[in-house]
Symmetry: none
Subunit: 220 residues, 4 copies
DNA sequence: CATGAATGAGGTTTCATTCAT
DNA sequence: TATGAATGAAACCTCATTCAT
């Protein structure tokens, strides 16, 4: 599906967010690896205690590193937010590149919902962080995230539109419907209503897909 | 519908959160009024800049008060979070006491969705605050909020279950469906995807209601 | 014993400490009465929590008065310290005017020790306050207190000297011995070593008097 | 005199107060050294101005450190009080372990009085602080201090009792007599009556020892 | 590369005192 | 005379960041 990829490449090309982060090291691989490590250890702390209530000292301790070492690979605490955002972005782009292999609308919608929910489940903490701490992510990076959000929604929109054009779906507002799909993935990640307490991820995917399809399918 | 009201009363009774907040004044009316005023001025700041990035000095300035005056009516900055939560809670209880006058499932669902969305629209900032800053709200108060959330979802659940029992709806998992209704209200409040940019609240309510109904309705 | 009284009058004459405290009222009796009341309620708080850790609000509440009322009779929180000091001073002067009716050295020492201990017991809190919070009493007032301290010690000194001159006592350094008598009174007031836990005031007086006498008495 | 030492060790064992103080550093030696330094610079300020009237800023300036550096080694301003108390405690334990080598009651009393007075002279400011600012020392630490106070008094008591049993002393209440010895040391540290103005420490020790002995000695 | 001591601006909070009512 | 809301300076403390080692 080269068309899609081009579209994506067009809008997401540009200096990688990560490359903009200051470091004292020249070993790119090491830098990347250490940053992922730090972000991975910091993120649960952010989710549990909040970004502002988590000190760099705590982060360095969670990493079994010195404070100086953390700053060796990062320019500032805020940069960890960028890494979290960037990881989400990377995975979403990955997701968009691999979903929709199927040209059949129903199958395509099914698989994209499932994949999307699985992605949100895997990056639960990133999703939460992006909801909760937008003020701790640089405006520019928020925009980059908004962009992939938008692309993601557009992708769902396209699948739906395709289905509508094929006469398989009947949807009054595909854009809003696509947004619903998007939110439904995030919703699983939100621990707030304990969805995970009374349902497995697979059941969740199944029920939600069925509900959406029963609403979208064109009957006549 | 007295049964519902009783249920609600039973679970929501308890010492008001507000009464637990320290104050230097004995004039209850004044205290309440000033607190609402302070919370009202502070909330937009929190939403715009984040709770931690908003200083008490800024809040006092936004209120045209001295810092000391703010602390005359509040025990701490965190207490403003409680007020925000409490306001949401109050309005949700109010909402639950007045919705669903209609015994017809479809009408009842329609009106409850509409009212719920309007409530979320009205308390947009409170909704956002509760999503973003849970770590700045005392555990106990988060629980109180979770309680009304739960009651609210249960309420939607009951409407749906009623409809299912009446043979009007056909829903695989009413609980999850109810959760979808709940989230759909919050979703409007979330500026993140700019739903409001391409749609009015009324349109949003209409489209979403239709989509949900088309999914829920039992077609023989 | 007019000689003594003259001495005292000479050094203690001067503007009363209390008269120097600002007030909004002209009714001298009322002012005095209220001040004693306030000081009496505040002193235990100071002893229990410390002067600085006791707020004017707390004091006003302990007095069942408004903050404004407290300031109606006092110019500042510090003034309460002055009142405490002044009360001690007044009682010590009173004490000095009435002790020593007896010309016999031993009897005179006995009674003055006993009276002094009883005074310290009665003004326990004042004694403690003067030890603990000298930095919260104006320099000038500290000096006035030091003056009566000095007079008190001198008084004991005189009794001892009289005894030495009469050949009844044999004391190497009457000044230091007098100081010991003084401290022994304060010592009772100091809860720190729980003297009061294993001894009544009367026993304390008896033992201490005997010990001092057995040290002071001239044997040959 | 191994029995005494054992007794002391038994009751004074326990987690060091200092170990309970929070620090950002892991270098125990550095932490201890810096804390002693800070406490040493702060204590005279406390004595001169009072604990509450001395700000952390002043302390940090007196130490030629930044405020942050002070908090790097201490968890709070109050902790300096603990250090002051702990230093007194340490020295008193040291004192108790080394005094009383002499089995002759009179010599033993003489030397213990002298050593005690010298200790109080050396730790003048600590003594004053403990008298004046008990409300700024955690209850638990006050208790630990009360414990060594008690041990110290008991130690004097034992010496006296030994003398009484040997028929050398005749004392009605050794416990109270011991307390007098204790207080007499503190009394020197109290600047309040300017004992130091008209007497050297050695003279003070001499006079007080003679007075006590002349009271304690058994004259058939 | 790594460490962690040091910095100090800036945050929250307290509280003596004033003054309009 | 009495009230208590309001003030705002100043206190304690945190923590992101730097930099000498």
């Amino acid at each position: 599906m080269p068309r899609k990829e081009q579209t994506l490449r067009n809008t997401t090309t540009g200096a990688s967010t990560e490359a903009a982060i200051r470091t004292m090291s020249n070993d790119d691989n090491l830098v990347h690896e250490r940053r992922q490590f730090i972000a991975g250890r910091a993120l649960p702390l952010f989710v549990r205690q909040g970004f502002n209530r988590t000190s760099v000292r705590e982060i360095s301790q969670a990493c079994d590193m010195s404070i100086g070492a953390v700053y060796h690979y990062l320019g500032s605490k805020d940069d960890i937010g960028l890494l979290v955002a960037e990881q989400m972005r990377r995975e979403m782009i990955e997701f968009m590149n691999h979903a929709f292999e199927d040209p059949r609308p129903v199958e395509s919608l099914r698989s994209s919902i499932a994949e999307w929910c699985r992605l949100c489940d895997r990056l639960k903490d990133n999703v939460l962080f992006l909801y909760r701490e937008p003020r701790n992510i640089k405006e520019a990076v928020q925009k980059r995230i908004a962009e992939v959000d938008e692309q993601c929604i557009s992708m769902f929109d396209k699948v739906l539109t395709m289905g509508v054009e094929a006469g398989v779906f009947k949807i009054a507002n595909t854009r809003l419907f696509a947004l619903n799909v998007y939110v439904l993935g995030n919703m699983w990640a939100f621990g707030r209503w304990y969805v995970g307490k009374f349902m497995t991820l697979d059941e969740y995917i199944e029920f939600q897909t069925d509900a959406l399809l029963s609403s979208a399918l064109n009957r006549r």
